[in-house]
Subunit: 204 residues, 2 copies
Amino acid sequence: MRKKVIVIGATGTIGQAIVAELESDCDVIKVGGSSGDHTVDIASSESIAELYRQFSNAKAVVCAAARGVVFAPLADMTKDTYLQSLQSKQLGQIDLVTQGLKLLGNDVSYTLTTGLLNCDPIAAGSAAGMVNGAVEGFARAAAIDVPAKQRINVVSPALLLESVEKYKDYFPGFLPVPAKTVALAYRKSIMGKQTGQIMQVGWS
Amino acid sequence: MRKKVIVIGATGTIGQAIVAELESDCDVIKVGGSSGDHTVDIASSESIAELYRQFSNAKAVVCAAARGVVFAPLADMTKDTYLQSLQSKQLGQIDLVTQGLKLLGNDVSYTLTTGLLNCDPIAAGSAAGMVNGAVEGFARAAAIDVPAKQRINVVSPALLLESVEKYKDYFPGFLPVPAKTVALAYRKSIMGKQTGQIMQVGWS
């Protein structure tokens, strides 16, 4: 039976690769931030609830949407810029899980997205370090605390090959990884039995 | 010359051990959450600024205060309980660093505190996992992004021997570590040259 998978951030670079990876054997519900057939703002609990009520028979939720993380030198950061940075990628991704426990089935997998900056930092990346670390710490702890057979994993991609031109000055010496390779990790999380795993893709 | 060290959370189990470890060769400013000669609420930016203005010649800031992290089963957690959990231990500890860059000297060390629950989770500990991961990700990234010679480290203690009676049912099979042993790691962070390190004490 084809698995119904909600892909949030489906129009982004990773999201498109996830859709391409999955659509041969899954029913993929493509969800964008502002464009596409379906949209969600993961920083809004009501927006998440609305999406889940519409697709309550989904068997997997993938989030590859990441907005609002501030990149700025540490000396320019304030409590407000950290608070702003955590709304979507940290609290929003966590909210996808906790609301899913209430509104979706007992055997759903959740695959969240971070990135290597909490372990392999760059200049101006302290908020990204915070947010990625938070999501990974949450996922390891939440995975052992689910009420039924839900699973929670995180994909942590390195610098995307598709983003090298745009971001290479910020990531000196980072090995690029194609989005297609990153997409495999989402398949592993959705189709495998793993839980509480941080799947690092393309780190070097 | 004796180093001036601000110890926040000085009346707690770890805080008392840190004070005992340091007071022979440091000028220790003991700061409590609600009692003692000096108090600070690290969830309040104004409270932190007031403390720093009073002791702007301090050469080290240690935070062993951790309040407000919610311990509850994942199924009972909501966005609000995560938001509540991160105010002090995550954003408050980060605020100690970013405000310190503005109000303290160029060669101050910051030593924050987490705990092993983002890597070695327990039931009902998903908010602790989030918060600890956030602080560690922040510290690794912020340490390479400081404007001058500031240093940032994290001490991540295991279950304290002094807390075993109270918490043993929540930490089955965890090896206890005496607070005195944990306190050594704070000395290492303050007196050494390390930065961006997560000092795991008593993990097994």
